[in-house]
Amino acid sequence: MQPATHRVIAPTDITALRRHAYRIRRHALLMGEVQGQGYVGQALGIADVLAVAYFRAMNLRADDPEWEARDRFLLSIGHYAIALYAALIEAGVISESEIENYGSDDSMLPMSGMAAYTPGMEITGGSLGHGLGIGVGMALGLKRKQSHSRIFNLLSDGELNEGSTWEAAASAAHWKLDNLVAIVDVNDQQADDKSSSVLGYEPIADKWRAFGWTALRVNGNDIAALVEAFDSALESADGKPCVIICDTLMGRGVPLLENRDKTHFIRVDEDEWRIALKQLDDTYATPSDAAGSEHS
């Protein structure tokens, strides 16, 4: 693990992480409002994971997204770009003023994440099943350079359908890539249907363990549990890659969207965005609320 002094963004306590998660959700809702639609449900679901990744686990420099000693965050799932943009805005890598350009012509924030467009977007995702393999190559490269940087790769449960994900999983264990952390967002939703209906994925943790990984499974909307999992992943140096399997709730923090029929691509009516923002504010107004559900 990197000495704490190397952290440019200091480790923050749970309350501060909750605050970051709230603001990531808020940035995402504001971007969603610009387009009137989008992958807002996923962004709300993964916000707590991104808050812990960006504000506790990772080394980065907001003013130098290509800093050689940074940790690399690879977004396989390009359609989650709205969530990562929100995290990068919150981290100060992208200016908050870019929110109004989300998904517009010539914007640095296209609907699907691409490396050439956006500071802090390490890879071009979107064709699912690529991220972990790229992560294996980068992790091998970092070891060649004797770098202490780490690779974090955010995958979805749907992405576990792709055979290439498992080629990469086998390889990461073979090469003892303990500098590689996979994060699987299990929200049980993919393009056509519930993930469990499209292609059953359980038992996820056992599968990763059988491939030679250390597998942790947590409530991905529980900040305290996430902190424990990320800390544990970073402290282990047993020559094994680590996967953090995060069960999340799409729409988390906004009851209007939490309770909506779950679909891959949520449509929100024009008048609902302000309601959603209000509900998000209400959710975070009480310390023991659902969105910060470490006590639930």
Partner: protein, 336 residues
């Protein structure tokens, strides 16, 4: 009962070299070792075909710079992209069929969309194995030509492969190279002015009766055919165009327009669909240049299994087949 013995498929591992022709063993592997001595960034990666792409030579010289990625071509390309992202120059090897058919999306989105510096070196281009369609990359160039940012190289012989290996290191960007492996003939030594350069075609032989524009293995055949035709007072020019993309439009057009009456034959160890022949055809149409135009290449079909000499004759890419095709055309000119 026939007295003529049939050739056996085991001839698939036979050298492409003619009897007595000088050869170099594993020219790619040795050239890569040489390049790696001068450039620390070079690493080798393979999908369980190191021994069959001559990468084993590199693996023996630099075991700590060699990555065996297993029989997983999607991973090979993604991991190659990751290595390039960290500043290395990965040479990734497999067969042409697997790179083009199986790993296309991974090359496209992980490597070329971001113009990453990955060199994809693939054995068994076109009809260089008798194993049949599972191993014969007869349409790899057609598949790859549509991929933006990818340079496509089809070298002729050991000389070309050695020089192309160094040229790929010097070139910043993704390259696909069609590799001849094992004991590879050396034929370009006889042209002292020749040197390989990415994006450049070069005239090897001159002649007013016909022009062959060729790449890869077919440049060897074109030279042999031109020599044999010269003995019959038929004079054939040979323009070697080892870079398929970007095509050297200027040199090709200049060479054709030097003798506009010459029939042009584009010869390639590849399907007549989507390779060098159609690249040149499109170039000529766009330039408004209309010579008599022919293609020598493999048919649009899944090819037979068998022994290579048999198959090269069957599909019209043996030296004798090229000689026959050109002689019948040139004799018409001479008769008129």
């Amino acid at each position: 009962m026939t007295t003529q013995s049939r050739l056996k498929t085991s001839a698939m591992i036979a050298s492409l070299a003619a009897e007595g022709q000088p050869t170099t063993s594993a020219p790619f592997g040795h050239a890569l070792v040489e390049a790696a001595a001068a450039d620390e960034r070079i690493v080798g990666m393979t999908a369980d075909l190191g021994k069959y792409t001559d990468l084993h030579v590199f693996a023996q010289a630099y075991p700590e710079r060699h990555y065996q990625m297993g029989m997983a071509e999607q991973l090979l390309m993604s991991a190659g992209a990751g290595m390039a992202r960290e500043g290395f120059i990965p040479f990734v090897t497999t067969y042409g069929v697997f790179a083009s058919r199986r790993a296309y999306d991974f090359i496209c989105m992980a490597i070329t969309e971001e113009r990453l510096n990955v060199k994809i070196v693939c054995a068994l281009p076109g009809l260089t194995t008798g194993y049949g369609p599972s191993h014969q990359a007869t349409e790899d160039m057609a598949i790859f030509r549509g991929m933006p940012n990818l340079t496509i190289v089809d070298p002729c012989d050991a000389v070309d492969i050695e020089q192309a290996t160094h040229a790929m290191v010097a070139h910043d960007g993704p390259v696909y190279l069609r590799l001849l492996r094992g004991k590879v003939p050396r034929v370009l030594d006889r042209f002292p002015d020749y040197h390989f350069e990415i994006g450049r075609a070069r005239r090897l032989m001159d002649g007013e009766d016909a022009l062959i524009i060729s790449s890869g293995l077919m440049t060897m055949r074109a030279i042999e055919a031109a020599d044999l035709l010269a003995e019959r007072d038929m004079h054939v020019g040979v323009l070697h165009s080892p870079t398929i993309k970007p095509l050297d439009a200027q040199t090709i057009l200049e060479e054709i327009q030097r003798h506009p009456q010459r029939p042009v034959y584009v010869a390639e160890n590849h399907s007549v669909i989507g390779g060098l022949g159609e690249s040149v055809a499109a170039l000529l149409m766009n330039a408004g240049v209309h010579p008599e135009f022919h293609q020598i290449g493999l048919p649009d079909a899944f090819l037979d299994a068998g022994a290579l000499p048999t198959l090269h004759d069957r599909y019209g890419i043996s030296t004798q087949a090229v000689v026959k095709t050109l002689a019948s055309r040139i004799s018409l000119t001479h008769a008129s």
